[in-house]
């Protein structure tokens, strides 16, 4: 029932990537992490996989070349990625941005926290909530989770 979960992160800021990788190490769910430096690299990777679709993607909104919203659009148009949960990982917490991300097909909205402990807890909460959706037959269309 609890196989390793595969987590993706797309973020152009190297410091943020490093923080995230460190935070994710602390969670007690077996996992592996794959990171991308921009949206194009992420989409190249996603278009080339067939089986073993990753479980959850943490997606930064402001990236050069291909923005997070562009990636989200492409992901939601791809039937094979319908079970990939998308967590928008952003510095904004305005209700307008949160709502826009959800309408665009995101499942989770996560405001980048300023301190490490907070990040660790948020990432653990998100991964665990996502696990429930993957393993309990809950409707993914109704999966909306905002955490700040």
């Amino acid at each position: 029932m609890s196989a390793t979960i595969h987590i993706l992160l797309a973020d152009d800021d190297p410091d943020d990537r490093e923080f995230f990788a460190e935070a994710i190490q602390g969670i007690d769910v077996p996992h592996k992490l794959t990171m991308f430096e921009d949206g194009q690299a992420l989409m190249d990777y996603l278009s080339n996989i067939d089986l073993d679709i990753p479980h959850i993607l943490f997606l930064d909104l402001n990236m050069p070349c291909k923005s997070g919203f562009d990636c989200l659009d492409d992901i939601r148009l791809s039937p094979k990625l319908k079970n990939l949960s998308v967590a928008i990982y952003s510095t904004s917490s305005s209700e307008r941005d949160v709502e826009q991300a959800f309408v665009g097909g995101a499942n989770i909205y996560l405001k980048k926290p300023s301190d490490f402990h907070h990040l660790k807890k948020m990432v653990a909460d998100v991964v665990k909530m996502n696990w429930q959706y993957h393993n309990s037959g809950l409707s993914r269309e109704n999966f909306l989770y905002s955490i700040q």
């Binding site: 029932m1 609890s2 007690d28 769910v29 209700e95 949160v98 709502e99 959800f102 309408v103 097909g105 909205y109 665990k128 909530m129 696990w131 429930q132 393993n135 309990s136 037959g137 809950l138 409707s139 269309e141 109704n142 909306l144 989770y145 905002s146 955490i147 700040q148």
Partner: protein, 188 residues
């Protein structure tokens, strides 16, 4: 033409399983809560075929005892949450009576394997049911809160916000806007 569907996942699942078992000529008895006993001899190939057929509907055959227990706990909670009116007994009494096991044992096994406490899982399921009822638009939020045994609409809204991070009205707005944009992109 555009319409919404209303469905009972448990009933649908039972029909699917029955049809596939019948088609493969498997003799079985269906007990409550997704528990099935196969009464005829079944070859490995047929069993594998059944597993593959059901996987297409995201139905998984669980045969490891610990996983079986967890599945029964989850099914019992889902059934409880889908009762027309939630019984007033506490969750712990309900589960231990239905499963005939001590609540301490049930709750330990559950948290050990699912990264969630039973209480938390129960709340998630109740909020999921609330989401479905909000989308169906047949009941007001006040009526939904009584149906799910919340003492008030404020209590439901509070737990909804705590579990999902958004309010029930924002949830409703988002789902409506998603439907609208899906509709627009189809008619473009």
């Amino acid at each position: 033409m555009k319409f919404y569907i209303k469905f009972d996942g448990i009933a649908a699942c039972k029909v699917i399983v029955r049809e596939h078992m019948d088609r493969l000529g498997v003799k079985y008895e269906m007990l409550s809560l997704g528990e099935i006993i196969i009464t005829s001899k079944v070859s490995d190939e047929v069993f594998k075929q059944l597993q593959e057929d059901l996987a297409r509907y995201s139905i998984e055959i669980v045969s490891n005892p610990k996983n079986q227990l967890i599945q029964r706990i989850k099914d019992t909670i889902v059934e409880l949450v889908h009762e027309p009116d939630l019984p007033l007994t506490t969750l712990s009494v309900y589960l231990s009576e239905k499963l005939n096991l001590s609540y301490g044992y049930i709750s330990n096994v559950f948290s050990e394997y699912t990264y969630s406490s039973i209480e938390n899982y129960f709340i998630i399921q109740k909020i999921e049911r609330a989401k479905k009822m909000i989308i169906e638009e047949e009941l007001t939020l006040t009526e939904i809160s009584y149906k799910l045994n919340y003492s008030s609409v404020a209590h439901l809204s509070g737990q909804f916000k705590k579990t999902t991070g958004i309010t029930p009205s924002m949830f409703k707005r988002i789902i409506e806007r998603r439907r609208l944009s899906a509709h627009n992109s189809r008619t473009e």
